[in-house]
Symmetry: C3
Subunit: 461 residues, 3 copies
Amino acid sequence: MAALTLHPDRLLPADPGVRSLARRLYQGVRDLPIISPHGHVDPGLLLHDTPFADPASLFIQPDHYVTRLLHAGGVPLDALGVGEPPMPEARAREAWRLLCAHWDLLRGTPVRYWFDSELAEIFGITSRPSASNADDLYDVIAGQLAMDTHRPRALLSRFTIEFLATTDDPADDLAAHRALRADPAVSTVVAPTFRPDRYLEIGRPGWPLLAKEFGDYAGYIAWLEDRRRYFADHGAVSADHGHLDAGTEPLSTGEASRIYRSALAGTVTSAEATAFRRHMTFEMARMSCDDGLVMTLHPGVHRGHHPPTLHRFGPDTGHDIPVTAEYTRSLQPLLEKFGTHPGFHLVLFTVDPDVYTREIAPLAGFYPSVYAGAPWWFLDNPASIAHFQHAITEIAGLSRLSGFVDDTRAFCSIPARHDMSRRLDAAFLAGLVTSHRLDEDEALDALTALVRDQPRKVFKL
Amino acid sequence: MAALTLHPDRLLPADPGVRSLARRLYQGVRDLPIISPHGHVDPGLLLHDTPFADPASLFIQPDHYVTRLLHAGGVPLDALGVGEPPMPEARAREAWRLLCAHWDLLRGTPVRYWFDSELAEIFGITSRPSASNADDLYDVIAGQLAMDTHRPRALLSRFTIEFLATTDDPADDLAAHRALRADPAVSTVVAPTFRPDRYLEIGRPGWPLLAKEFGDYAGYIAWLEDRRRYFADHGAVSADHGHLDAGTEPLSTGEASRIYRSALAGTVTSAEATAFRRHMTFEMARMSCDDGLVMTLHPGVHRGHHPPTLHRFGPDTGHDIPVTAEYTRSLQPLLEKFGTHPGFHLVLFTVDPDVYTREIAPLAGFYPSVYAGAPWWFLDNPASIAHFQHAITEIAGLSRLSGFVDDTRAFCSIPARHDMSRRLDAAFLAGLVTSHRLDEDEALDALTALVRDQPRKVFKL
Amino acid sequence: MAALTLHPDRLLPADPGVRSLARRLYQGVRDLPIISPHGHVDPGLLLHDTPFADPASLFIQPDHYVTRLLHAGGVPLDALGVGEPPMPEARAREAWRLLCAHWDLLRGTPVRYWFDSELAEIFGITSRPSASNADDLYDVIAGQLAMDTHRPRALLSRFTIEFLATTDDPADDLAAHRALRADPAVSTVVAPTFRPDRYLEIGRPGWPLLAKEFGDYAGYIAWLEDRRRYFADHGAVSADHGHLDAGTEPLSTGEASRIYRSALAGTVTSAEATAFRRHMTFEMARMSCDDGLVMTLHPGVHRGHHPPTLHRFGPDTGHDIPVTAEYTRSLQPLLEKFGTHPGFHLVLFTVDPDVYTREIAPLAGFYPSVYAGAPWWFLDNPASIAHFQHAITEIAGLSRLSGFVDDTRAFCSIPARHDMSRRLDAAFLAGLVTSHRLDEDEALDALTALVRDQPRKVFKL
């Protein structure tokens, strides 16, 4: 039986001199509280504090990072319970066996790295998962999940999460957030995030139904403004946008109104709907200047690449695939208007790493509003993170980074993800020191800023 | 006279700890037989076993990797015998002198690395080529080429090549392959590869002539299906496609037939021909699902960038230049239809490294049919290979890599290329182990898989 | 007070073995004279030898590398004197204080690295700038600027610059250059560079005024040919071009004449103006073949991304942002016609690093005329330079690199920039040696070539 152990120097550089410095830097931030300003944890999880049902519903079913790798390796999604509620024990156990039996499919990925951390640190597992120990591991984890120590709130507290943002529909009444805020037993600040994508994509099926209470274009704008303020009043710090591109060309009010009416009538063209959505992204920046919500952009993903899987298992099931991103021209109208507005913050994320050097760093290196969002989704691995660190820092400096953003729906992976980031930031800064481009005191100061101060500043906490 | 020596640790990481581990891993696969599932060796070379004529015709004339570097450095292609049959000795020797005198032009390239390996290991050369020793080296090599030990079959055997795929025209009768298979003296499995590019590019001059026996569109499809089965019956494992883009949008049969007739009549437009070729790429995937041939794509090259050179020296003379590649949208129709078809395999190669992270890894990390093809052509160097290793593995895991593919027409470089790959894979995996992301036993297992098991699985050997 | 020290091994690799070799290589070229074949130093600076006014006008006001980083960090450009002549002492001192107080904004950037070098080596500064020592540093620097040792010519001589190219308008009479050449006290060769951008962009406001003396299209062409020869007669070695794209599709003379007349009449369309500019880029290559001026291309920058800043502070104020570059198709017409012309040299620069591997290296690896220009602008940092070194060398060899080009308007940064390049080239070559791909004697030879011989050859010095 192979052991599962967490080496204290994992992810640190191999050279003994650099490693020793990186270790020193890492020690300085290892235990700082976690700030998670953008993510996908369900507030109900923390409100109701219902115990996690079983290892499969905790680790497999909701996590498309895991299920896509198993699917690529030949495991059908239905055997993993994708898109389903928690399964009867026999099926849950079988899904867990499939994961353990295919443990080699995760080799070299951050998913494996996070799993190792979670299994060892949260569940005390000491042997590497495999077909032969799958049932034992299932029992060990399931046993702990039934204990109070492993209920959501206990874990939240153990993870020392200081701030946790969820992602919410503009129409949400935020009752769960209100209740959490009112509960003195929850010391973590849990904040909603305004995510209006489906309200801005007026050409999609179902949009007219969404819009039926807004009246005309002015009513629609007023509703959005109102809901943003409602979110801000309930602790939201940001509004998030995830469209296919980063276009922000504004329309005249007349043209916007005309297209809006077409959408209500169901006669809007695809080109009109795209133009309207780009206009609304511009409008969202305008509203951010008014209400102070930080604007975050997550563009460039072709969603639902495999329609048969989408139809059977729903969205977020592992086949969203990046496309080429463009920010320089796309964001020009928005930045011309709002780029130097006092207090406006725009955090740019990407799944196309080519734009880090070419576009995001130059933009963040001039506009006081623009920050380079931490590597997102497919880019949350050590190699891509190293590319990001160099690309942004060497062009725009360390102060233009967003700080780490986990953006996860896998609750138990939050500490492992932040720890990975701290280790990799320590490794990066140690490299700057050992090439004599930075002094050690500056590196420690910069690392502390990245972990603690920068997310607070960027997300206005 | 400078020495030419092959350091036993060449290409391994510099850090002593990582190097020592990488060396250990490499030792575990160094002597495994070579599997070469895609390349351009002429089967006639092995059938007839004719001795290589001279050093120039072996190392220079047919190898556009070498001749383009010399051409860029000011050496005219005609002095190198490009596009010619073997030359009289005086000219061959003069071409060889030009290579040796310009040895510095190869510095830092994999061509230099392969040459060092070939000269040392196959011909026992111990001094670095230069103007002053060019004639001596010529004589040493020419002398050995005249010996039985250096005839093609003897080298094939010495190289321990277990499987070698050639690249062949669909109309080829595969007589050479039949004869090789029937010959008990050849222990290497030599397989043809179906390469139908020129049959699918119906707007090119000469296509109507190619098509004259097919009759209508249905006849054309039937002919392709028939030839694919003929190839499969003769041991082919894959069909290869090298068009300008990776488009796969299908047409209705009516529209395809109409365009087909226009092409026969010589009135097809460029846009129609492109649409037809994309349709046919889709059709080729459909046929792969039927006949089991692995589909390999090599898109994204602007061929014949310098027409004066093309007209004088022919194709494949060093001025094919990459263009931007796109896979996410281009392959969507094909993958929607066939991406989860049992047994369908699609291996994606590229000369635009940007797509590794952005598109190929995410696709290979979901679709069970998709594999990331090893770095191809301009990317077959250590830096690009390291980028590929990280880009694919950290997103899709080690199991989605194709294993090494040499894709060469330089017969003697095959062992050096595979050895380079094994060293670089050992280096990469050693890095994962020393950053504590993988255990050493897993690294050795993964390396063995990459060298031996993965190409067998991906290419269905 | 933190110290400012320059470590003798700065920028060299961390591994002790590689570092020791890199140090040895670096020592071999450290003291070679500087060749600066492309840059933006004002020839009047050297002609008049006027002392630099103060630290702000030397280090801050004219340097958009510095001011954009401060601006991104929240410092208004007017507080830095951007776009102004030297300021009264109180304002100059205040600008300097802002720089020192925000010293942390430069962490991790090459700007910080160059500053450290300049402050230590030119001004003997030994403490790290900060709010608390800003005034002291100001006084120390200002005191030295008033001394003969720190006037422009004294620094030029101390920097051991052998060749220095400026950038000049085609209509310039080059009187300053004539006077400098005639002055026996100036041992540096100071050469003009022909930069005709605004004459080729015929759709821009003001162009008809520029063109009023040319007469028709033929007169315009004749004027350009004449001015190029005038520049060549005054020591120019190159003509530089900085347009939005690298297009080179030629027009017929009739079509070019027609568009030219439209531009004179003020009725030219944007598409016509672009077509004409691409045609003229082709024409410039034709003229280069005649007059021998090296052609350098710097495409791919969206200029003046933030119009409010452009209007208030002028061009070159930190908000020029790169866009996607394309060379394969864009340069094909030019290279088909002139790519193998004897003596034609084309140096390709980029701010889109994606084209290094995909396009520039393959082009430079075939065409004897094409060289890969050193990393430019946003790419002049260690990470981007390392990417460039590998990308070009491993595909096209060391001989296709341009050698270092500083391209700076920050006079005092020239030695630091060249020193950085020499260190990074030594580091890169040491890596090739320690991975046993190159012998040490070859590495030293290659490094010397990169520093001394290659720029002479590429720029025909």
